[in-house]
Subunit: 406 residues, 4 copies
């Protein structure tokens, strides 16, 4: 097999079966040097085994980076400022991680003098698009190798055979089993695809879920928390300040314990098909609710409505992989501009899967004016007679049209 002349490739490497096979396959098929890059974005796996395996495979340049803080502060939080939901339901846990990984791949390619990058995403999914759009945006001349679109190892059996043939160790879970689902995890969520989810009428087994207890198993007592916001980002829980990554981890812990954040969806992939996915996003589910509540008190109505109208497009951009683009940037600066006033605290009750807002306050930026809103006499804060003209002029075009119709 003759591939284009690649001298050195940076591989997004987890140390699992797929990327271990890819590493070997790149060495054999491309005859090039492979640099491995393994990122800690909070997936909850030890990374040192990846180093050991890469070394065993003869890799000279091994990158293992902790990107958790960058992930949350530069990707997750900006996205949550937009109250982002794809197709009304999906919190974009996988989507938002890809641009960061691809950005780091490109950086490492520059550092190591590599002319290509490689990843283990399949040709059917969104992740290949997200990786590669980012890579091309940041380095237009980069070469990209996507083995799943090139090779014929298109089933697990073939992969296993290739691994055995080339002496790649295939680890089993301690109990000798392996989840039948295709999973992806980071600080924001864990996702499940494939297996029995491929029939959208079938409910997955209760043992699929890993990050949260079922609502039925959650405590019988509600947990009340207060989240503090500064400029649209959460900074504290119950008065205690956290770094971005630590805050999200803490919300995951609290949310997961209370059965919060499970979703079972059919979504539309960018490459054109519908797919079924299940997600656990405990902290993100809490955060979305809390952020909206914080905005409800502090954000101007028209700014809030404009944000709501732009959100679906922003969500599609993130889902489709267009993070490092002029259009995402346009939307982000508009969104960020609104967040300067999103300061204060939100109180929430968490109970068996529910996230209930029960209070919100802002010492510095509340636009809630009880003197105006009151149902009691307001001492002139609001002149009810103003409403007459307001209504009459808003109705004028409708009245003219009504007269015209006769």
């Amino acid at each position: 097999m003759a591939h284009g002349a690649i001298k050195k490739v940076v591989l997004a490497y987890s140390g699992g079966l797929d990327t271990s096979v890819i590493l070997k396959w790149l060495q054999i098929e491309y005859g090039c040097e492979v640099v491995t890059f393994t990122a800690d974005i909070g997936q909850g796996e030890e990374l040192e085994p990846a180093r050991t395996k890469a070394q065993a495979a003869g890799v000279q340049e091994i990158y293992i980076d902790d990107l958790r803080e960058e992930f949350v502060s530069d990707f997750v939080f900006p996205m949550f400022r937009a109250n982002t939901l794809y197709e009304g339901e999906y919190l974009l846990g996988t989507s938002i991680a890809r641009p960061l990984i691809a950005k780091r791949l490109i950086e490492i390619a520059a550092e190591t003098g590599a002319d290509a990058i490689a990843h283990g995403a399949t040709g059917k999914g969104n992740d290949q698009v997200r990786f590669e759009l980012t890579a091309y945006a940041l380095n237009p001349e980069i070469k990209i190798i996507a083995p799943w679109r090139e090779w014929d190892l298109l089933s697990r059996e073939k992969l296993m055979a290739y691994a055995e043939q080339h002496g790649i160790a295939v680890e089993m879970k301690r109990d000798g089993t392996k989840s039948p689902y295709s999973m992806d995890a980071n600080l924001l969520h864990i996702s499940y695809e494939g297996y029995d989810l491929e029939d959208p009428w079938v409910e997955p087994g209760s043992d699929m879920w890993r990050w949260s207890v079922a609502p039925e198993q959650a405590p019988d007592q509600a947990t009340t928390i207060e989240i503090g916001f500064e400029q649209g980002d959460p900074v504290a829980i119950n008065g205690q300040r956290f770094s971005p990554a630590a805050l999200l981890a803490e919300l995951n812990r609290i949310g997961g314990a209370n059965g919060i954040g499970r979703a079972d969806l059919v979504e539309n992939r960018y490459v054109g098909m519908k797919s079924r996915g299940c997600y656990e996003t405990p902290g993100g589910t809490i955060l979305l609710k809390a952020h909206r509540a914080m905005e409800s008190l502090t954000l101007d109505r028209e700014a809030a409505h404009l944000k709501d109208e732009l959100m679906p497009r922003y969500a599609s951009l993130v889902y489709n992989g267009y993070w490092f683009t002029p259009e995402r940037n346009m939307l982000q600066v508009a969104i960020d501009e609104t967040q300067k006033v999103v300061n204060g605290e939100v109180r929430l009750r968490l109970y068996k899967g529910n996230v209930m807002v029960v209070g919100r306050k802002s010492a510095s930026n509340s636009l809630f004016d009880a003197a105006i809103a009151t149902f009691e006499e307001d001492a002139g804060a609001y002149n009810q007679a103003d409403a007459t003209g307001f209504i009459r002029l808003n109705a004028l075009r409708l009245r003219v049209a009504g007269r015209q119709r006769g």
Copy 2:
């Protein structure tokens, strides 16, 4: 006091204190004949007392109409086809009822030869706008009397004094108490405003809520239901067909029993201030989730995304009272056009406040193609190599820009 010459006015009349005072006030101040109109839109109160009271007040023409089916089929369901949420949270239970009531007021004015209508909405709220925009749109020459914007009976004490002075019976609840909240109910929801809700940091007492049990009090066993959809509207529960109003009532019953549908919000009123409202919308909460799930299986991606982008504007139109307008009509025909294929069943688990989608199917319109989506070998249903060109051309503009930046 000299008011414009009104001969006959149709009053939206509940028989409660406010509209009873208004009835008398109209007779006195305007010296005109009053026609009363009382609608059953599922608020759950007996209407015959309204007839008795109106008769006692000397009203000659008394209209009491059951509008429940029209309300759900012509207003609620069309709105749910759009997955409508105002400001990300509010299901618009009050908003959607107003155009129907105003439309009926205008019809009755035509039937009775009245030249004016009157309503009991205050000058601070959205309802006055919703009533009056509808009225003006349907009859540009109608005169509108909004006593709250005219009189000086601006507190409950003054109202009570006026009632006593004019021999208007003020009923107490059987136990001599009255809810301290301002409430409004119909088949879609019940709302609460005022009193301790005027501080958005304060959680209302558990005895405020009337339609649903608290999640904590809901059954320990989940309830599973299946909702059948035809052209975007729900038509059956667990295989049993219901009329629109009966279906919504049944969903309210099931949802309320499972602690579903409570919301505690700060919202932006059209007249310019923020206000706090609490809502119970058990059936609507289930329906929104179910409808989205039905669409996720049957609706084209781009149609779904376009709907999502238009939804916030549609929601604002409904919230602000622009139901009978060309622009709402534009959006409605676009939305309805998409719903022809929204047919099938959705299975949901309801548990202590949670509505979880656990299955969706459509015999006639599913766009989920397992042969394409599968993680297994797909026998050529999808050519992974296509993704390369897809990505490369989508990236082209980004690459050109990258090269240009150097």
Copy 3:
């Protein structure tokens, strides 16, 4: 060369060099039967030579269809109802013709039992996308052959050599010359690309343009015309009714004579690059201006504004080839819904490239109410005091925010 087994292919065939070479190439490379389809969409060329050439090439099934009326009534006019402009300037003359041709290709494939279609669009342009998206939408199983993406005849010289080698007659223009530009024409426009236009700083020579005189050469006297509209579509010029195609042809004649409709643009192609194009769209330029003027008198403000906001997306859908899609359909029904009231006459002055609206009237649907708009005393048609409340409530949120800032 081994291609997939194609039995019969319908070729979009003009009889020119390119498609003549393609015809032969298909016969040789695919060894399949070729059906030719030649459409009259107003490009202004005789079609019978195409029949003669196809017969000479041994084609058994030859389709030559006059699609002019369908083109204008079902494609051009619906698009003009939206006031469609791509990127603020381009009237989409090429884009709008492609779905019609592709639709007819699919119909002919069904009629003739063909399993494939072929077209002569290159792999760099938008037309391949427009043809193929339509084809796939109307027949998901159709096979598509795009020779320009397959063969290596990638220059004019190679094409000519192939033609000579295979005995394909290459016609010269009568004077032995040929335009150096790549051109495309139909009833809506003629376009020019390539040659010296490839430098966007260079002005093309005055002899490039074919449909219109230069403004400098146009008559010194203005031409005044009146266009009559019914439900948003033009139906008459100066009181004389025309069929859709005849009306557009007449506007082209009048516009071209007055130097109207030239455009020189850099546009963004769907496949990712910028390209330079020049266009002559005399009738369309007049029609856009006239339609907007007709709407300005008859259309509700909010419907008009919503149309304006949706237009750029509608334009992109047309430009990118998504005519036969759910999302275009959504927008079209919304737009069409608004056009019921767009009836009346517009008077225009045409002068040396200018299209000036100088009058508009609608006996049945004018929303212009001089009694309200007048600067003179209006006898109570409008209550100026209403504006106070209108402004005060619209300002309320701004005032609350101002107070909050201190």
Copy 4:
């Protein structure tokens, strides 16, 4: 007549009949001190007579400010970055000046300790809204006096009588005549309303227009100019740098001489009625065309399309007077973010009303890549085969739907 207690009011004062009457009326009716403010925003009138008249009326604090540079750099140019057109046609010449004047009124109120402002806009128009929304946004406690909404001097005759009665000099034009139109002018445009324009079918007389020659009277030779842009703003004409106000004035001069920039429109006012207006905007008409051309070469496609979709809303915000609002600010930062790369030169031909782009270049930011766009062989710059996958995946959802329909 008893008005609220106003101590001192700042009046937007031109020195003409209307505002002279208002000045007197304020002194009489409100018994308060009046500060006059007269702005030079390029309306082309001498301002010193306003000082003399104000002094004659006993005004102690007289402000006369040259705001031309601020007007163009902080209001006109930011608006043109958005390619702003209201309802597809109107360049917003009046709208954009109002926030600046109102802002200065508020500043002067603060400087002079005034508690109110006053303006001469009528209760039927948009200007009152624009003035007052700005005033309230910048000073929530300001009192606003709009005499036209209060007094009964609702015709010219009554105004004249009041003037005569109070010794206010009424100037006639030198020839004893006065335009019958209501006019407004600033550096961006001059507008005409009223009189025979109140019938939208009537063409105004040729003597109405003041800033431009008719196309028929313009030179027979085209004028070619080059406009240089930096970050989206024009900075030079034919290589000569100008300040913002000087540049716009120069474009007005060139455009007016070539018959450019007349418009005759029916527009939708914010207060609910349609109105007819004629406008001359010579420089703005050139600038819009030039700016779009500059963007066509330098701006990313998706950023450009997003700008186009947001533009109508931005235009409405400006038209309706919402300049100093969070939502306009959101849009502005998004728009401005895109303009960093809008650098280069545009060459235009101006001829008898036409503005024709004939060239555009950008040394630093052109995204036009001739190597990719060429119709000739491109030496591998673009792989035509990529288009196959691009089309196939974009078509996938349509094919699945087609199969589903059967």
